[in-house]
């Protein structure tokens, strides 16, 4: 590995040098947290964690696969190109998600559109030194240190960045900033180890097995009742990758690939209307199963990297990792309410006895 030390003050100049040669995607500072977008000199947020995962640059919400033009009854196709770009300052969890996606899309026949973008994208990954409240990468083996192949590894040591190039592309990125870099001292490497270990200790021990236990014990019906079917968990998850294609335009047009979500009923609904995952509860359970059972079977890697984004974006009162519904559905509370009511009724000389509250699961209206 080629190593160098970059003072923080010199980072914009390095990025500027690279951006003269290719598009640089970096975490721009925005209210509420960093947002990955094309960098054109804006202030960066290199401390916070992004809600939208940088994997969206490999799997956009919507991309054009090819254009089609019809002339004299024959079609010609023009594929979209993927110009080289640098994805700057992603986290080890997101890098690990990319490793999972590489296996998913790499199984033969491999997905050309994904690898077009993948090959064209240089990855600069920052080791995490300050985990977020929602993070649990360490227990899942996807962080806080870089665990997978990337082009350049960066660690924030306070006054500057320890940069470690792992590939030729990484070396060339560093070279773009020749004159900006200094030598690496043993103390730098020691500090890196110390910070990473500290970060690892600071996270909750949320292992895959613990999550699988929660999945077994979870009251999926109650969770399903909380679910607002927003699909947010699937859109912010860096590992989620399901998609649909759509041809738009007759006779000339384009084939679009769009992100899809198993949270929506239409995803699993069959043409005749039958649906193997008819209720939100079933669809939610399926999503967890996919992450902790199905993807591991297919790829050998967990389908969850412990980034905690699903928890951050979920608009219901669900705890996404403990899978607890923060809803008072337990009998104790019902009894308490009934008792209160009974006392009130007795006070009012009312002969009616309290009746149990809302119907519990049973005759639920079928939801699409």
């Amino acid at each position: 590995m080629i190593k160098a030390f970059l003072l923080k003050a010199n980072l914009p100049a390095l990025l500027e040098a690279v951006s003269r040669q290719m598009e640089v995607i970096a975490p721009l500072a925005m209210p509420g947290g960093p947002v990955y977008a094309t960098w054109q000199g804006e202030a960066l947020d290199l401390e916070g964690r992004s809600l939208s995962p940088p994997t969206e640059f490999l799997l956009p919400h919507k991309e054009v696969l090819f254009h089609y033009v019809q002339e004299s009854g024959r079609y010609s196709f023009k594929e979209e190109e993927a110009p080289p770009r640098l994805l700057f300052f992603i986290r080890p969890c997101d890098l690990h998600a990319i490793a999972v996606l590489d296996r998913v899309f790499g199984r033969p026949p491999s997905d050309q559109a994904y690898f077009r973008r993948r090959r064209a994208t240089a990855l600069v990954v920052a080791n995490c030194t300050v985990p977020g409240e929602e993070c649990f990468c360490a227990s899942l083996g996807s962080g806080p240190e870089v665990k997978d192949a990337c082009d350049l590894q960066i660690t924030d040591l306070g006054d500057g960045y320890l940069c470690e190039a792992e590939t030729a592309a990484g070396v060339l990125i560093l070279n773009a900033g020749s004159g900006l870099l200094g030598p690496v001292l043993p103390s730098h490497l020691q500090e890196k180890r110390r910070l990473i270990e500290q970060a690892g200790q600071a996270m909750p021990k949320m292992t895959a097995d613990r999550i699988r236990e929660s999945m077994k014990k979870a009251d999926w019906e109650a969770l399903g009742r909380q679910c607002l079917s927003c699909g947010g968990c699937t859109f912010v998850c860096p590992v989620c990758h399901c998609f649909s294609t759509l041809d738009l335009g007759i006779p000339d047009g384009e084939r679009q690939r769009c992100r899809d979500t198993c949270i929506l009923s239409g995803f699993s609904r069959l043409t005749g209307g039958a649906n193997p995952r008819r209720t939100p509860a079933q669809r939610l359970q399926h999503w967890y199963q996919d992450k902790f059972e199905d993807i591991p079977q297919v790829t050998g890697l967990l389908g969850c990297v412990g980034c905690g984004r699903c928890h951050l974006t979920c608009p219901s009162a669900m705890d996404r990792t403990e899978l607890k519904v923060a809803l008072r559905l337990n009998q104790d509370h019902q009894n308490h309410q009934n008792q209160k009511h009974e006392n009130q009724n007795n006070k009012n000389q009312n002969l009616w006895l309290s009746s149990p509250a809302a119907d519990l699961p049973g005759g639920r209206e079928a939801r699409t």
């Binding site: 995607i25 925005m30 977008a37 927003c230 309410q337 209206e365």
Partner: protein
């Protein structure tokens, strides 16, 4: 790729989001973590908000009618023609023969300019918009009761409630981010009472679900008030210090017996008593409501009844308390605030008030009409009988969204001149003489005002297709042809004028909004130093005292009978928005519910030999539609539910134009209907 921070185009929650733009096209959307209300969440429509903008169906050129055909025209020609026809009508028949329906989907600036065009250029107060179909009773009812027709707290305030009463709102489907806060309050121990004829998803999580019969709300709310009084839970101190009219109101409530509630509403005395103690005992009680309250011939009374309840329990002016009308469109609150209403200028300043009129006359440099104008349905009645000759409709689809569609279409066809502006071809656009292509929310600058009175920026992410233009531009151009000299160079200019004439928006300006980021400003915000107002009525009521008013039950204008033995209710779905022009062009949303359906009680269905998915005909005195049957145990026997989204089975082909005399909203939740199988 660039990410543009803007405000969602769909519902009144007003979530912040980023539109992702690459190569001049929208390629995705994501939530705004820094937004004070939506805080990094979006519903499925929000995640897909950018999807429809690039659809090939987008109107991209002005079109002018030539017989049966609509022919492309240049903007100048289209606007020349429009001005000519409008001026001709005004000359021959007077300004009262003209009307304007503005867009609850347009920006505040566009609504303001359109109402200015109507009043200053066309000299008519015949200005209205779809609030007439949704929260006109709120504007009238809460306007009278509290002095202001808007949500009294912030949406996030609901997260602090101890008890929430949700009436006639399918919150998780229509206002998901409001439901988020209700669910969070619930998680912290708040009591949740849902009153709805259907067992909505929110009702599934409630402590108590009261299946009130449609339109019977005045009865159970009065009885609830009475039970709360009986349990000693009235806040007398609050009533005496801050309100008037409570004695006669409580007196009127006393006349409702438990038997009457059971008979008329179908709610048991025990359930109502439980509701009384849950709501009455709460330190912080909140009332949330939507169309199930307002879309009735007695809508204003029902709103008043809820206001009576909130006031009688002292649930006003504090975090977690208050009354929360949930506005449908992302800018219907703004459209009302901007005075796109027949009786008021911006800021609810009455057109009939001399001081208000002088102020606007001075600012606009013209004489303004004094007589309040016609409301939307009244305009259509005037068109029907021939006294309204010319109409401009912007970003609205009355042919599908207004009640009794065949009557609506007949009225629109009687007009001498109809100009329509929209982003997609609609059933209404098909009737236009001039059709103007608009820029959608992702293609222009402006502001929207959400249901929590939050004024937020909406930003241009991509260029509009073809020659489509932001409405504020062509409205100004049209005004120029009608003799006006406006000279706005940007929407920021327009907002500066709005702020100068509208006290509640006095401190709102583009520079200030930029510096505040996603948070925007909640009105009232009377000056540049004022920080905005999350909670209304904290120090009391601007009008002096809040007003309780006795309300009495009126049976609905149409009841079921031998010929039409069932009751038809109408409403919406999470996946489609109103007449679905945008959502049916968004692949993932269209896939969720691609075809019209009608909800039927399973026992009713069994009796009639109707199975799930069968095509059935729903008929009322106005018309008939065919849709697929959906067996729904959460629906009571004898009731039917049709969504309003589908042009091939338009719910409003079946509804009637029976209006609430106070707010002129139509009874859209109760129509006498019959159900038959379609024999093929």
């Amino acid at each position: 790729m660039k990410k543009v921070h803007t405000t969602c185009v769909y519902c009144g929650c007003g979530c912040g989001l980023f539109l992702h733009v690459e190569g001049g096209r929208i390629v995705g959307a994501s939530p705004s973590p820094g937004h004070p209300m939506s805080r990094g969440s979006l519903c499925i429509k929000g995640w897909l908000a950018g999807d429809f903008a690039g659809h090939p169906d987008r109107l991209s050129q002005p079109l002018v009618r030539q017989g049966e055909r609509m022919v492309p025209a240049a903007w100048d020609a289209a606007l020349d023609l429009t001005a000519e026809r409008l001026l001709l009508i005004r000359e021959q028949f007077g300004p009262q023969a003209l009307g304007v329906l503005t867009s609850a989907k347009g920006t505040n600036e566009e609504n303001y300019l359109l109402m200015k065009l109507a009043r200053a250029a066309l000299c008519t107060n015949n200005v209205d918009h779809v609030a007439r179909l949704c929260h006109a009773p709120t504007v009238a009812g809460l306007g009278y009761a509290l002095g202001s027709g808007a949500m009294t707290g912030s949406i996030s305030s609901l997260g602090q409630s101890d008890a929430i009463l949700v009436v006639g709102s399918n919150t998780t489907e229509q206002h998901p981010l409001v439901a988020t806060y209700i669910l969070r309050a619930r998680a912290k121990g708040a009591g949740l009472i849902v009153v709805d004829p259907r067992k909505t998803p929110l009702a599934e999580t409630a402590d108590l679900w009261l299946a009130a019969r449609p339109g019977s709300d005045v009865v159970w709310i009065n009885c609830l008030l009475n039970l709360i009084a009986g349990q000693g839970l009235i806040d007398w101190q609050f009533l005496e210090a801050h309100t008037e009219g409570y004695e006669e109101t409580l007196q009127a409530a006393r006349t409702i017996s438990a038997e009457k509630v059971e008979e008329i509403c179908g709610i048991t005395a025990a359930d109502l008593a439980q509701a009384a103690s849950i709501f009455g005992e709460a330190e912080r009680g909140a009332i949330v409501y939507a169309m199930g309250v307002t879309q009735h011939a007695q809508g204003t009374d029902i709103v008043q009844a809820l206001a009576n309840l909130a006031l009688a329990t002292g649930n006003m002016g504090r975090e977690g308390t208050g009354i929360y009308p949930l506005r449908g469109h992302q800018n219907v609150q703004g459209a009302c605030d901007m005075g796109a209403l027949p009786t008021v200028f911006s800021g609810y300043q009455p057109v009939s008030s001399s001081p208000a009129r002088s102020k606007f006359e001075g600012a606009w440099g013209t004489v303004l009409p004094e007589q309040p104008g016609l409301t939307a349905l009244e305009m259509l009645w005037a068109a029907e009988e021939g006294s309204l000759k010319g109409l401009i409709i912007v970003g609205e689809n009355p042919a599908l969204s207004y009640p009794d569609s065949s009557r609506v279409v007949k009225a629109l066809k009687r007009l001498q001149f109809l100009a329509v502006c929209d982003i997609f071809p609609t059933e209404t656009a098909a009737l236009a003489d001039v059709l103007l292509p608009a820029a959608c929310f992702a293609e222009k600058e402006g502001t929207f005002t959400s249901t929590e009175r939050r004024v937020q920026r909406v930003r241009k992410a991509v260029e509009p297709p073809g020659e489509a233009r932001a409405e504020w531009q062509w409205i100004a151009d049209l005004a120029g042809r009608l003799g006006m000299r406006w000279g706005y160079s940007s929407p920021a200019d327009v907002m500066a004028e709005i702020a100068s004439l509208t006290p509640s928006y006095g401190g709102i300006g583009y520079q200030r909004l930029e510096s505040l980021g996603p948070a925007g400003l909640q009105w009232p915000c009377p000056s540049g130093e004022h920080q905005g107002t999350p909670i209304l009525h904290v120090q009391g009521f601007a009008q002096g005292r809040a007003r309780l008013r006795p309300v009495y039950y009126l049976p609905p204008p149409e009841s079921s009978d031998a010929e039409y033995p069932m009751t038809l209710n109408t409403g919406r779905s999470l996946y489609h928005f109103h007449t679905a022009t945008m959502t049916r062009r968004t692949a993932l949303l269209d896939r969720e519910i691609p075809l019209p359906f009608v909800q039927v009680n399973p026992e009713d269905a069994k009796q009639m030999g109707i199975r799930e998915g069968m095509r059935v005909r729903v008929e009322t005195r106005r018309g008939s539609v065919v849709a697929e049957a959906r067996l729904s145990p959460g629906l009571a026997r004898g009731q039917l539910f049709l969504p309003i989204h589908f042009s091939e089975a338009p719910a409003n082909a079946l509804t009637a134009q029976h209006l609430d005399p106070l707010s002129k909203i139509a009874e859209m939740k109760i129509s006498a209907a019959r159900l038959t199988k379609v024999i093929s």
